[in-house]
Each structure stands twice: as C-alpha cells, then as structure tokens.
Amino acid sequence: MTTIQGSDVKKVVVACDAGMGSSVLLTSQLQRTLKPYGVTVEHAQVDRVPADADVVVCHAGLLDRARGNLPDKVVVGFQMFMGDPAFTRLEQAIKEGETLGG
C-alpha cells in the first residue's frame, strides 16, 4: 500500500473511463474544495494518468484498472459521485497534512 503525506499533495487527478464525462464533473467539485490548499485538480482517462499526479481519485468500479496502471501512486476509490466520505477524507488529509493511503 502506497502512502503520501497530505502536505505533499500538489496535484490530484480524477480518472474515469473516457476522461471526459464523470471525471470532469468531479474535477470541478474537487477544485472548489481543494483550491485553498494550493492543490491543482485535473481529469484524465484512467489508462493515461499524467506521471506527475500525486493522488489519483477514481470510482470503485475502476480501481483495479487504476491500481494496475499506477502501482506506485496513491489511488483513492469512492462509491458515490456526491457526498462520498472518501472526498471528505481526502480534503481532511490535505488540510491537516495527514497520511493518505490507498
């Protein structure tokens, strides 16, 4: 399991199957919550996540693919597109500089 300190997170990438639908929706949501901490949020296709991503966020249904593609990155999975506790945890970890694993 890879981990990262919340304070080291500079770039979060939201990945989805096509990289142009649901990931864009989440990107604009996360941008709003994470901007105050100097974190940039981008969206990508799950097979083409940019190398400089610190944390990758994707739906639980795509986790196997994301982990397979990115063995050395922290991949955060979520269930619901809105109000999932995973997003609160991510924000919390970045805000408080806590360790984030996944």
Partner: protein, 369 residues
C-alpha cells in the same frame, strides 16, 4: 481455487474487458463533435429535413463516408503511436473506406491502430540503423510506403472481410428488430453499463452499427439502446422517495446531472449499492426499447452525453414524440419497479427503527452494567 483467487481472476477479466472497450470508445469519443456536426447538418438540410437545401445537403455524404471514418482511424492510430501512428493509420484506412459500399467505421477502427502498430514496429527496426542525416528521408518514406501498401491491401483484403462482419452484425440487429426481440438486449446492456462498460458498448459497438443504418435508412434505433436516460431517471426518482437516507439526500442533484447533463455514471453507484435495482434498469430499458420499436423511433447520431437535450437535438424531424414516449415509458417502468424493489421505503424505515432500537438497547445495557 480459493475465493480470493476467483475474486482476483474476476477482477482481471473485468478490467481486461473494460480496457479493450475503453480502447474502442476512445477512438470514437474525441470525435463526437464531428458526429454531432454531421447529425445537425443532416437533420437540417436533407430532403426530409427542417430546411431542405440541396447545395448544403452535399455535405452529408462525404462527411459520413470519408471524414468520420478517417477521424476515427487517425485517433486510433494516435492512441497506439502518437501523431505518426495517426497519419499512417488514416492513410491505411482509406483503402477500406473506398472499397466498401457502406460507411466503414469498423474498418477504420481496425486499420487505424493496425497501421500505427506496424509503423511502430518498423521504426524500431529502421531507426537505429538509419545513418545520420538520413532520418527525415527514411521516416517520411517508411511512413509513406507503409501507408500506401496498407491502403492497397485494405481495398483487396480487409474491405471484403470487414464488410462481411459489419453486415453480419447489422443483420443481427435487424433480425432482433424483425422478430421484436430487440428489447432483450437490455438484459445485457443495462448490467454492462453499470459495470462501467457504457462507453465501450455505446461508442465501441452500437454507434458504428447505428451510423451504417443511418446511411441506409435515415435514422437508427441503435443510438437509443444505451443512451436512453429513462431507466436511470426512474431509479434515481425511486431512490429520492424510497431509498436509504444518504441516497434520498443526493438523488435530486444526481437527477439533474443525469437527465440534463447526460452523465449516466452518476446513477451507477445507486445500483451498485443495491444490486437488485438492476432489475428495474433492465425493465425500464426493455419497455423503452419496445416503445421505440413500436413507434419506429430513431436518431441521426449518437447523443453524447446521453442527456435529454442531446437526444432531442439529434432526433430527426417528426420523431420527437416517439423518442420522448420511449424515454417516458422507460422512466415510469423503471421507477415503479425500483419503488417495488425498495419496498416503497418500508424496509428502510424498519432499518432506521431497528438501528434506533439497537442504540437504545445498547444504552440501557451500558446503563445497567
């Protein structure tokens, strides 16, 4: 075999299918703007369109025969081997396009990546052996010769084969329509959607089939199979009224994003959380398709994203009522089924009560001990 192993194998099969489907759809999806342009031009200017205009209708044929398949071939090649792959892929696809007597999307999806892959392999052999100063000469001519060869090969070998396959698939769909069996595909399509194969199915399989039918018949029901927002809307509505507490709170926002924004992914988690709801999606999908079939509804292009606005925009003149009827029927059926499956919220209320009861019991227990 242990459970753990079975689980891992299932997961790898699933991501394998996802990945292949993703490859197919990522050849098509970046070009959807071009499909929409073509769909709008067709809806407006052909003889049966809103404002028939013979001069502008000239756009329709070349766009669907050459532009769209070439864009797909280029994008497919680009995925495999960057811009160089895209160029060779597009050249390679021309042969299939010219030789076939139907729009050759399937052929473009084969030749684009194939041309790029071969170029990559040839470069791996040639480039290390190229003397300094001859790189440009060798690169340009290796790409040109390979592209030309593949295009010629496409005319004689690939086109007949791919045409036969495309005809076979099209005939398969036609058979289902003729036998009134088309609604049965929902049994496959709806669960596959929820497993995040939605783009693969719609853009990788149904889209190319639909385009071939549009070229022949002026509209295609294939575009409505995966993109009907009705089943998802019904489920979200049911969750809004009768779902677990957390879904009741988020469902209204999800409904807007799903139905108007067209991001269907947003309703998948509600089904994944309560898998029995897939029955409602299947029922909704089947009844919607049956309605489309009876009313002879069809679309001109893939509505992407699957928003009601996109659906209406690519509906041919005169079909709007039929399309709306199919969406409405799917919504109602899926809503009723999902509400039944959720027990109209009864089990949810019971669970909440039980939880409260358990908490109370816990409190008394702690107090007495």
């Amino acid at each position: 075999m242990s459970n753990q192993q079975t689980h891992e194998r299932m997961a790898s099969v699933r991501s394998g299918i996802q990945r292949f489907g993703s490859f197919l759809s990522s050849m098509v999806m970046p070009n959807i703007g071009a499909f929409i342009a073509w769909g709008l031009v067709t809806a407006l200017f052909i003889e049966t369109g809103w404002t028939p205009n013979a001069t502008l209708a000239e756009l329709v044929g070349p766009m669907i025969t050459y532009l769209l398949p070439l864009l797909i071939a280029y994008t497919g090649g680009h995925l495999v081997y960057d811009r160089r792959g895209g160029v060779v892929g597009a050249v390679a696809a021309v042969g299939v396009i010219v030789a076939a007597d139907m729009p050759m999307f399937l052929g473009a999806m084969v030749m684009g990546p194939l041309g790029a892959y071969l170029m990559k392999k040839i470069d791996q052999v040639l480039q290390p052996r190229t003397p300094t100063g001859f790189e440009m000469l060798v690169n340009n001519f290796s790409a040109g010769i390979l592209g030309g060869l593949l295009a010629a090969l496409g005319v004689y070998v690939v086109a007949p084969a791919v045409t036969a396959i495309a005809r076979g698939l099209g005939a398969g769909v036609q058979f289902l329509v003729d036998m009134s069996l088309l609604p049965l595909v929902s049994i496959i399509v709806e669960p596959a959607k929820v497993l995040f194969l939605n783009n693969a199915l719609n853009h990788g399989v149904l889209g190319p089939l639909g385009v071939a039918r549009v070229a022949e018949e002026g509209k295609a029901i294939e575009f409505l199979i995966e993109t009907n927002p009705g089943p998802g809307l019904g489920i979200l509505l049911a969750c809004m009224f009768f779902g677990p507490k957390i879904s009741r709170a988020t469902a209204p926002g999800a409904i807007i994003i799903h139905f108007f924004g067209g991001i269907h992914e947003i309703y998948f988690p509600y089904i994944l959380a309560q898998p029995k709801l897939i029955l409602a999606a299947i029922g909704g999908g089947m009844s919607g398709l049956a309605t489309f079939m009876v009313l002879d509804a069809g679309l001109l292009a893939t509505p992407s994203p699957g928003s009601i606005i996109a659906l209406m925009a690519v509906t041919p003149r005169g079909d709007h009522v039929a399309v709306l009827a199919g969406v409405a029927v799917a919504t109602v059926v899926s809503f009723v089924l999902a509400s039944l499956l959720l027990g109209f919220g009864r089990s949810e209320r019971r669970a909440e009560k039980a939880e409260k009861g358990a908490a109370a019991a816990q409190n008394t227990k702690e107090a007495t001990s």
